[in-house]
């Protein structure tokens, strides 16, 4: 209850701190505007045109269904990767042998380009949802796995001794000792994975699907419609920013309140 109140109380301050991000976004738009002025609207339409196109897409009702399809695929793949990566990573972290064994495998997974996985996925799953979901899963899994592994491995053995002498039961060890520590590694990994998921899903859709933002991008590319292309990109990036800064970042701050004491 106290936690909830503290969290709610922190929301205005958190939202207000978003002005810094807004300022840097505006600087980006200024650079965009400048580049558009240099290269011409055909190559790079200016931000206002793009946002107007996006508004048009939203008003016409074209945007939401595509975004929903894309989000569904990205989040499904991400959820699977989070579930599998976190659990397996923690299990691997507990055992020295398992973590020794896992490291090269993770390198293999990380080193394989997502586009290669995409080709395989297209062979395996065809044009179904399975293709983007699988590609997202494979791209996100190693990041989360490594986070969980590192988190579990880096837990101070002194604290484990402490837990032993105070006879913490297994449940408490998990929730009071391992998880709080591991989460501080896992959460940044999740956020990184979210960004990866968003990028990879659009790529997968572009090449393999008939719907979703990626497919819409393919259409606008074939029409040489730069403004629509940028509008779709803005929509994807904007929704990623919203999910990250409105949902994940506040949770992360709350979870890591014990780290810094800056008000």
């Amino acid at each position: 209850m106290n936690l909830l109140r503290a969290w709610l109380g922190g929301i205005p301050a958190y939202l207000w701190s978003g002005w810094g991000a807004v300022a840097s976004l505006f600087l980006l738009f200024a650079a965009w505007e400048g580049a558009s002025a240099v290269y011409g609207a055909l190559i790079l339409p200016d931000p206002a045109t793009v946002f107007a196109t996006l508004a048009g897409l939203i008003e016409s009702g074209a945007a939401w269904p595509e975004l929903a399809v894309t989000a569904r695929r990205a989040l499904t793949g991400l959820a699977l990767a989070i579930a599998a990566g976190s659990v397996l990573g923690m299990l691997a972290g507990v055992s020295l042998t398992a973590s020794m064994m896992a490291r090269p495998l993770v390198t293999v997974l990380l080193g394989t380009p997502p586009i290669a996985w995409l080709v395989l996925a297209m062979l395996w799953f065809g044009a179904s949802d399975g293709t983007p979901v699988f590609t997202v899963f494979v791209a996100c899994f190693p990041v989360i796995f490594v986070g969980a592994l590192q988190g579990t491995r880096t837990l101070d053995s002194h604290l484990k001794d402490m837990a032993a002498v105070f006879r913490l039961p297994a449940r408490m060890k998990l929730f009071d000792l391992y998880l709080p520590h591991v989460v501080s590694y896992l959460f940044p990994a999740w956020i990184t994975a979210l960004g990866t998921a968003w990028k990879v899903v659009v790529m997968a859709e572009l090449l393999s699907s008939a719907d979703g933002v990626g497919a819409a991008l393919a259409v606008s590319r074939s029409h040489l419609d730069t403004a629509a292309t940028l509008a779709w990109i803005s929509a994807v990036v904007g929704s990623l920013l919203a999910v990250e800064y409105l949902l994940l970042e506040p949770i992360k701050r709350e979870l890591e309140r014990w780290r810094q004491n800056e008000r």
């Binding site: 002005w19 810094g20 300022a23 505006f26 738009f29 200024a30 931000p47 206002a48």
Partner: protein, 420 residues
């Protein structure tokens, strides 16, 4: 309450002659803050008379608008900057106060600059050149006096003031170069406004740390206000970028985005100020209002540029009347009293004056809206602006032109009460 005439005068330095030892020259802020308040009231009165009743103004290069902006920025604004810098820099760097003689010379240069510029319409180029020389000499003198202590400070923390003064000297030089060539020098005035906004952000962080924390202490709150450099730097960068783009490409949309970035960065800066109830005390609130008005000004400018609509002038005047005016008023009241050896003025007229200045900014901004009764609103705005500065001159004249009552020397702050 023991009065000892000239007990605080330095050894050997102008002990006897009343003119030379006049308390007005005791510290740099004394003449310059009076100049600021008097010119602030008078200039806007004249401007209001011109707008409302067509009263004549001194004819200058670029016409009445250039006269208006030049006087309020290089007259009113520069006087405030000079007074503040001459007082604050020695205090911040722990160096000796500026002696009366250079203060007198700088004050004479400021008056000369006014006279020469006002007469430049009748007397032509020589007067304009004289005005240029007077303004540059004033800024050059300030730099010559203040650069050594700023540079000698071991950490060089206050160098931003030096860059600010140099930038002001640069825009003054640019203004007069264009003016002497017969071109419209208005863009330099806009750049000067950008420099002043940056200087305000720089100066405010130092003033506000003290003011806000003492308000917090009074309330007994446990939070502490810290002006954090990264946020300030972001705001300064955004303002500087906007100012540069406005200078080279006035009216461009890219400037609109940059102005919005500046507005957002200033809002970001305000989060340092969210210290709870203490913010609602008069002094912190006044300083906070400066940031609010500045953010609003850049926000309106940005929207106007991006939508191609009206309102640019409204944004500009939120910056000049609002941010600059309120900040100058606050500094005049805080530094002007503290360094004359008086406690802060806790009477009612003072926050009322601040409210009038904020009202003046809003009225002036509203007058730029399409369909607004512009003349009436501008007249009201001029009145709202004139009153507080006239009141300041009235209240502070005796304090600034008489010896200190607390027996302390020069620019020293009020005697600290010995706290256990």
């Amino acid at each position: 309450m023991l009065k000892r005439p000239s007990a605080h005068a330095g050894p050997g330095a102008s002990v006897v002659f009343p003119a030379a030892a006049h308390p007005l020259w005791l510290c740099g802020f004394r003449p310059f803050f009076l100049f600021t308040a008097l010119s602030g009231a008078l200039l806007v009165l004249l401007w209001g008379a011109f707008l409302g009743h067509g009263a004549p103004l001194p004819a200058v290069v670029g016409g009445p608008f250039v006269w208006h902006a030049h006087e309020l920025i290089f007259g009113f604004g520069l006087a405030a900057v000079a007074g503040f810098a001459l007082t604050a820099v020695p205090e911040f760097t722990g160096s000796a106060a500026v002696a009366p003689r250079p203060v007198r010379r700088l004050a004479a240069l400021w008056l000369l600059g006014r006279a020469a510029f006002w007469l430049s319409g009748w007397l032509g180029t020589p007067a304009l050149a004289l005005s240029a020389a007077a303004h540059l000499a004033l800024l050059g003198g300030l730099i010559a006096l203040l650069a050594p202590p700023l540079w000698a400070d071991p950490e060089r923390r206050q160098l931003a003031f030096l860059w600010g003064l140099l930038a002001l000297a640069g825009v003054v030089a640019g203004f007069y170069t264009d003016a002497l060539r017969g071109e419209s020098p208005a863009r330099w005035l806009h750049a000067a406004l950008g420099v002043l906004m940056v200087l305000i952000v720089v100066a405010m962080s130092r003033i506000s740390m003290r003011i806000v924390n003492s308000a917090i202490e009074e309330r007994g709150d446990s939070v502490e206000y810290r002006a954090r450099p990264p946020k300030r730097t972001l705001a300064i960068v955004c303002i500087a970028l906007y100012t540069a783009v406005e200078f080279f490409a006035p009216g461009a949309r890219i400037g609109g985005w940059l102005a919005l970035a500046a507005a957002a960065a200033l809002c970001h800066l305000q989060s340092d100020w969210h210290v709870g109830r203490a913010l609602w005390r008069r002094w912190p609130l006044m300083l906070f209002g400066v940031y609010v008005l500045m953010a609003a000004g850049y926000g309106v400018i940005g929207l106007a540029l991006l939508t191609g609509g009206e309102g640019f002038s409204a944004g500009r005047h939120l910056l000049t009347v609002g941010a600059l005016g309120l900040n100058v008023y606050a500094v005049l009241n805080i530094a002007g009293r503290a360094h004359a050896g008086h406690p802060l003025d806790e009477r009612r007229w003072l926050p009322a004056g601040a409210a009038l200045i904020a009202a003046a900014a809003l009225l002036r901004a509203a007058s730029a809206l399409p369909g607004a009764p512009a003349a009436a609103l501008m007249g009201a705005a001029a009145l709202c602006w004139t009153l507080p500065f006239a009141a300041y001159a009235w209240v502070m004249w005796p304090l600034l032109t008489r010896p200190r009552a607390d027996g302390r020397a020069g620019c020293a702050g009020p005697a600290e009460e010995p706290s256990a």
